[in-house]
Amino acid sequence: MEARAKALKGVAVLFMGFYCLSSAVALAWVVYTSFKSNAEFFASTWSLPSQLRWSNYAYAWANAEMGHYFFNTTYLSALATAGSTLVGAMAAFVLARVVFPFRQVALYFFLAAMMVPAMLYLFPLFVQMRHLHLTNSHLGLLLLYVSMGLPFTIFVLTGFFRTLPRELEEAALIDGASPWKTFWMVMLPLARPGLVTVAIFNFISFWNEFFWSLILLHSGRLYTLARGLQTLFWNLSTESRWTELFAGLVIVMLPLMVVFMLLQDRITAGLTAGALKG
């Protein structure tokens, strides 16, 4: 029996090794191809580059405007994360700690959104944004992102706030603090671990967000990285500029990979905590 288990474990390790190797090889292929010229690439898919063509990256960054998209994505993700986490924390606190009629209804109102596919309300939202003059603008996208982040944020943070001892608000109020100050000075700082988890999760989702930037953004100068990459893919492969496309692909992949490498433990811990609570 033990032998069989050992053998199976051996097979499992082999399998996993093969999977990881292929995955790594595919990614490596993208990276080293991004340094080739298109002629080299067409001549042989497998060959290593003869020299490092940084011009591919220059092309992707400047001509294809990936640099611009990088900037857009950074500031949009940061603002949206801040907004979403904050507004979500505010709402979560009230929903978790304040007793008022229809409290449960309000909570489910937010949480229900996690079960609803975006495609259901795609067109009405699109038309509505158009009427509000919020299409093709970062303002509109930002407001939408903040709104989109609320359900998950509230989901995690209400759970979190509930775990804090009841006496905390009482103590603060008895000490003479106003309810407003109690929230901002006492309760919110205590929620920091939860806030960090939620912020990481939100940031990653906004950074990668594609669907709504596809629907709402039409001017090139407003694009985010994901939207820009899609346009790049459709345009550059038509022109058979594969190596420049791969350079753009690396530019998009790199930031999150690097961040992940540095913060691997933090991120996985936070994500498991959030996911397992479900």
């Binding site: 038309v127 299409t135 093709n136 039409h218 001017s219 058979s240």
Partner: protein, 436 residues
């Protein structure tokens, strides 16, 4: 206190900035075709330069991409409906030229007056006179002009001139038999005769064209668009058209495995010199400078006629990329001026040279890359829209149409007789169940 005041100012400032979006901008001209100048697509660069010229002539005016431009067609239409359209946009859907429904609903400005004014940089001629009469019918509705042309989009057969000459094939096959002869020679020499996208609607062009050659444009148009079914698909001419394509397939003239190729991959075979013929449109060369390589000799000839066919071989399926001014645009005169610049010799010549597009102007040179197109266009008497307008008018039916065609041509699941029978069924059902 300081922080509070700062926050208040910040909030007020953002609110003001946000509201600014809602105030009408008197000095803004919105153009839907204008796009970001990077992503070096030459036509975008040119548009940028045209906009610069306009801004130079009218200081104080800004020309910017319209919200919803560059593919956001749905959004543009919503803007038109809510009375807040951009100043320049195209009222054409897909490849069907001017869409009449919009004109009928009064969304499009009548441009006839502007067209009778002087041309941009051709002294002594009106704007209208600089445009080749061949394209007039794609710009008019009931005798009035509602659009101006930017470039020509037509379908023809492109050949790798070097390979053709190598095997002694004719670069100007007049009849279908001569065309088949070309294919035979290529195949004998080990070259793939025809490369083809087998996944999308590109395959259905073979059918459209053969139908027009055999049965005539008017009858084909009726088969596509007449709800009364005065010309059903079961007309023998259409079956014959399908059979002719079947012959080409049976003889193995199409690239093997074309069933799984999309247009980019199939065109790659052509550019790499492995396939010698491709049936595609004039957009074929735009942006392909990198993959074409030096010294590639491209030749275009018109779709051959079929012996004994009723169709006029001098007719082409194609259209022009049109631009119009919405009826409720805020700056119609300025918009018209911008459009005049687009039709100027300066813009058109650059377009031909750098973007490798075909110009609709009288006597315009053709892109050096597309030899043979001159004769083609000179010989053409009429333009018919792609799928005779089916795609723009009835997109769901169009989808079913080319899906059914692919069952015949690509999957080879049904015979020519079954194909026309199924098509007639589809079309009758559709037209019966839809209201207008």
């Amino acid at each position: 206190m300081h922080r509070r005041q700062f926050l208040r100012c910040l909030a007020a400032g953002s609110l003001a900035g946000a509201c600014g979006r809602y105030l009408p901008d008197e000095h803004l001209l919105e153009v839907s075709t204008l796009q970001s100048r990077a992503a070096q697509i030459p036509i975008n660069q040119l548009w940028g330069e045209a906009a610069d010229r306009l801004m130079g002539a009218h200081p104080g005016i800004r020309v910017e991409p319209a919200s919803g431009g560059g593919g956001g067609y749905q959004e543009l239409m919503i803007r038109v409906m809510e009375g807040n359209p951009p100043d320049v946009m195209s009222f054409a859907t897909a490849e069907t030229g001017l869409t009449y429904a919009y004109v009928e609903q009064g969304h499009v400005l009548d441009l006839t007056q502007y067209l009778q004014g002087p041309a941009a940089d051709t002294p002594g001629a009106t704007w209208l006179e600089t445009i080749a009469p061949l394209y007039y019918n794609t710009l008019t509705y009931q005798g009035r002009f509602y659009a101006i042309p930017q470039n020509v989009i037509s379908l023809q057969i492109y050949c790798n001139a070097a390979l053709y000459q190598q095997v002694g094939a004719s670069l100007e096959p007049r009849t279908w038999d001569e065309f088949l002869d070309n294919c035979a020679r290529l195949k004998a020499a080990g070259i793939i005769p025809i490369t083809q996208d087998g996944i999308h609607w590109y395959t259905s062009w073979w059918f459209d064209h053969l139908a027009q050659r055999l049965v005539g444009a008017e009858a084909t148009g009726k088969a596509f668009r007449d709800p009364e079914r005065s010309v059903p698909w079961t007309e023998p001419g259409f079956t014959q058209a399908a059979r002719l394509v079947g012959e080409v397939l049976d003889r193995g003239y199409f690239a093997e495995g074309f069933a799984g190729l999309n247009h980019i991959e199939s065109e790659l075979l052509f550019w790499q010199g492995r396939a010698a013929t491709v049936f595609v449109g004039t957009w074929f060369t735009s942006g392909r400078a990198e993959v074409m390589g030096e010294g590639f000799r491209l030749y275009a000839h018109r779709f051959p006629q079929v012996e004994g066919g009723k169709g006029d071989p001098h007719e082409l399926i194609g259209t022009v990329q049109t631009l119009s001014i919405p009826a409720r645009a805020r700056h119609p005169d300025l918009a018209a001026e911008l459009l005049r610049i687009i039709d100027s010799r300066w813009f058109q010549e650059q377009m031909v040279e750098k973007a490798l597009m075909v110009s609709p102007l009288v006597g315009a040179a053709l892109p050096s890359a597309q030899q043979g197109l001159e004769r083609l266009l000179a010989d053409t008497t009429r333009f018919h829209p792609f799928s005779f307008g089916l795609e723009g008018a009835h997109p769901f039916l169009y989808r079913q149409y080319w899906n059914e065609w692919n069952r015949f041509m690509v999957a080879r699941e049904i015979s020519a007789e079954e194909l026309v029978h199924n098509l007639e069924l589809l079309f009758s059902l559709y037209y019966q169940s839809s209201p207008a």
